[in-house]
């Protein structure tokens, strides 16, 4: 007869066999594929094992609430990440089999060190991959603008860290103006990676506008940083054309995002401080340049002033020495001229003396000659004159004789004519004329010969042969 078992009995036997086979707890390595907490605080998980991407084993597991209350915080503080799916865990569990619910692992304990190691390994692999692809250093090699003033912020609006960041920027001590724009994204959990990548893509449209990207998030001890150890996100950030500054609020080891970011800072406040400091450095440089230019300009002007003064002094000196030199030359020339003039004068003087001497001797010779000639001429003249005088003397004797005869004859003739004329003269004498009845009219003792010499009222004298009368003119020209 075939042996028959009820399902319950079968399951009972399986349970007994399992209890025999796994009398104590076992340590199991598995990956959490699902995780649920119910209202009473129990935790239900699905554990899997994968070969590449294929699931080769699967089992349900539970952590009862009293255990879970202790295990969860222990795990999270030790690993720095949430106790959730997609993590590899090493747990101590009993193998349970319930006839109605089947196989299940009842987790009693957990070894977070395994998960930490696994995470480190994963990180190492990601880093390795990024390095091999040559993108690991790319964002760090970007140059942060000299003034990081326009910041694209990736954060969640409600995060305290975001508010701190904005407050810090807006209330900077120098009154610098910052321009920010929030590109919202989930900052933890499964949605974080795609939403951050989406935010980066949005910023990429304005990559000419922004100076830098800030990825910020408020801190917290229980923060799950797993999403920041993601290859996809790291790959995107490393090749982003703007420098990325992180401030994702954790004190532990850097995440991969921190490693590949241009600058890694601990908190959003520190990121704000970093940008403010960048602008401050530029501002200080301006102020320094300003004072430097004032100083240099003043120096340069002073130098020029001094140079001018020095030149003035030099010119003065040069002019003086030039004048002195020329004056020396002039006086030397003057002296030479004086000497030359003296010598010339002396020469000319002696020439003149010579000439004078020559002239005097020539003159005395000439004078002697002239005198001799004169003497000669005088002698000739004397002789000629003597001859002439002698001739004339004879001629005069002859003339004297001639004259005596002529004058005797002339006198005789004239005497006869004189006797003839004296009778005429006697008749014409004025007295005889007056006696004959003629009168002579005088005015002021002058003879009047014309009526025109007289006018009315003139006194006239009339001379008669025997006297004179005075009369006055009464009428004129009858």
């Amino acid at each position: 007869m075939r042996q028959q078992l009820t399902l319950f009995k079968l399951n009972q036997q399986i349970k007994e066999a399992l209890n025999e086979a796994f009398p104590a707890t076992v340590w199991v390595v598995a990956e959490v594929s699902e995780l649920k907490e119910n209202r009473s605080g129990h935790c239900y998980l699905e554990l899997v094992e994968k070969d590449e991407d294929k699931i080769i084993a699967r089992a349900r597991a539970t952590i009862w609430s009293y255990t879970y209350r202790m295990l969860k915080p222990y795990f999270e503080t030790t690993t720095g990440r949430f106790f959730s799916h997609d993590i590899k865990i090493l747990v101590q569990a009993t193998v349970e089999f319930h006839p109605a619910f089947g196989l299940s692992l009842n987790i009693k304990d957990i070894d977070p060190a395994y998960t930490v190691g696994d995470m480190a390994l994963q990180r190492k692999e990601i880093i390795e991959r990024l390095r091999n692809e040559g993108v690991f250093e790319m964002n760090r090699e970007l140059q942060l603008p000299i003034v990081p003033q326009k910041i694209a912020v990736i954060s969640s609006k409600t995060a305290a860290g975001y508010e701190d960041f904005i407050n810090q920027l807006e209330n900077n001590g120098h009154g610098f103006k910052f321009y920010t724009h929030l590109f919202e994204a989930y900052m933890q959990g499964a949605a974080a990676v795609p939403s951050i990548i989406q935010a980066l893509e949005n910023i990429f449209q304005y990559d000419d506008f922004f100076d830098a990207v800030a990825i910020i998030r408020g801190g917290g001890a229980s923060a799950d940083l797993n999403c920041f150890d993601n290859y996809e996100l790291a790959f995107n950030i490393s090749q982003f054309p703007l420098p990325v500054v992180t401030g994702i609020g954790h004190e532990k080891d850097d995440t991969i995002i921190d490693m590949i970011a241009h600058t890694r800072l601990k908190t959003p406040t520190a990121v704000a401080g970093f940008f403010i400091n960048g602008v401050e450095l530029f501002y200080d440089r301006l102020v320094q340049n300003e004072s430097e230019i004032v100083r240099l300009t003043r120096e340069s002007l002073d130098d020029n002033q001094q140079r001018l003064e020095r030149m003035a002094v030099e010119i003065n000196q040069m002019a003086s020495s030039f004048i002195r030199e020329k004056s020396d030359v002039l006086s030397k020339k003057g002296n030479r001229l004086h000497r030359n003039v003296n010598r010339f004068a002396f020469l000319k003087n002696s020439e003149l003396n010579n000439l004078k001497h020559d002239l005097q001797s020539a003159l005395s010779i000439w004078r002697v000659e002239k005198r001799n000639k004169l003497d000669q001429k005088r002698r000739v003249l004397k002789r000629v004159a003597g001859e002439i005088v002698l001739t004339q003397k004879n001629y005069i004797v002859h003339l004297k004789e001639l004259t005596r005869h002529s004058s005797r004859r002339f006198l005789q003739t004239e005497n006869e004519r004189f006797h003839l004329n004296s009778e005429t003269v006697r008749l014409l004498t004025p007295v005889n004329v007056l006696k004959r009845g003629y009168t002579l009219t005088l005015k002021n003792g002058q003879i009047v010969t014309s009526v025109n010499q007289l006018k009315i009222g003139d006194a006239i004298e009339t001379q008669f042969a025997d006297g004179k009368v005075k009369s006055k003119i009464k009428k004129n020209k009858l």
Binding site: I146, K177, F282, L286, N289, T297, S300, N304
Partner: protein
Amino acid sequence: MATKKISYNEAVSEIEDILEKIENEELDVDELAEKVKRVSVLLKLCKDKLTKTNDQVEQILKEMEE
């Protein structure tokens, strides 16, 4: 030169270029006056840009909201 659009980099390198020239005494007094004036314009420009709100930039930010 379009002074309005000058970048921080351009401004500061121009300023420092002028500084160097003054330091090396490459400028005569007339040039000096001109360059110092230029520097003060650039300094003012940078300081204004650092501290005063630029409406054009604000406008671009506003457009991002939409």
